[in-house]
């Protein structure tokens, strides 16, 4: 009897664990989906504004002696943004012109920061900072 109780108990425990695991997996999955969705929304907002706004009128960035990015560079930035968006990656805090015909995506996580820099010639670099110290810089295109 005691053995049977133990068996039932084990089965019960297993069922509870299995159920909890399924619930946890569903919960994590829902959380990940929600996070992915919020990243996607943030990327799409950045694509609409400022990137598509710039594409419609690149001249607006020809200001105060700065060189506006060309439409080709803006299209490249939009392609990169769409790639990140489709991958569900976290969105940058902002996208800005560099003043020399290039475009910079700026990411931040706590004290660390990173930037994806598209130069006026189309070269792409990824630069990582830890507490303002540059720790990594690599050409990705």
């Amino acid at each position: 009897m005691a053995t049977a109780d133990l068996t039932l108990s084990k089965t019960g425990r297993r069922a509870v664990v299995t159920s909890a695991q399924t619930g946890a997996t569903d919960y994590i999955e829902r959380g990940l989906n929600a996070r992915r969705k919020s990243h996607e929304i943030a990327w799409r907002q950045l694509i609409d504004h400022p990137l598509i706004d710039w594409w419609k009128d690149p001249e607006q960035l020809n200001d105060d002696g700065m060189v506006a990015p060309s439409r080709e560079r803006i299209e490249q930035a939009i392609d990169i943004a769409m790639g990140f968006c489709d991958s569900g990656d976290a969105a940058p805090v902002r996208v800005v012109p560099d003043g020399y015909g290039g475009i910079v995506f700026e990411f931040r996580a706590g004290l660390n920061a990173a930037s994806l820099r598209i130069s006026d010639s189309g070269d792409v670099e990824f630069v990582v900072f830890e507490s303002d110290a540059l720790v990594s810089r690599r050409k990705v295109l």
């Binding site: 700065m66 805090v93 902002r94 800005v96 012109p97 560099d98 900072f129």
Partner: protein, 143 residues
């Protein structure tokens, strides 16, 4: 860090001073909603050959600094404290002995703006912004 004034030392840059950097409002380098400044605001411009330009607030107000610029959309002005630059080990010096209002960060110039050290300095300077004021109109934006 040395803080050079004019040749006679009469306008020695004091630790308690504040310095101003103009940020064209058209660039998005300052986000007023998040009160956040992009490191790009401290990227040397083509005319920053002797160093990144900053202006001493005690000689030139942010409004006056914006007014002499040519941006169509006007300017925000980022304020950086000399004491914070000192603590971060960022050197500044007066650019022209006859113009005590203008100082430069000599390690950050148009010719070295792509180097690792320059990117790191830009990142540091953005983190040292104590306040951003404006936007203020420029001569062009008033027309």
């Amino acid at each position: 860090m040395s803080m050079s004034g004019d040749v006679h030392g009469q306008n020695e840059i004091e630790e308690t001073e504040e310095l101003c950097r103009r940020i064209p409002a058209s660039t998005g380098w300052y986000d007023p909603e998040r009160d956040d400044t992009s490191p790009e605001a401290f990227q040397p411009r083509t005319d920053d050959t002797g160093g990144l330009s900053l202006y001493r607030r005690k000689f030139q107000s942010p409004e006056d600094l914006a007014a002499v610029g040519s941006s169509k959309a006007g300017y925000y002005v980022a304020i950086v404290k000399v004491a914070d630059l000192q603590r971060a080990g960022i050197h500044i010096r007066q650019d022209d002995p006859n113009d005590c209002s203008h100082v430069v960060v000599p390690e950050l110039r148009a010719d070295n703006r792509k180097r690792d050290e320059a990117l790191e300095l830009m990142q540091k300077l953005a983190g040292l912004v104590s306040e951003v004021v404006g936007p203020f109109p420029s001569a062009s934006s008033r027309r």
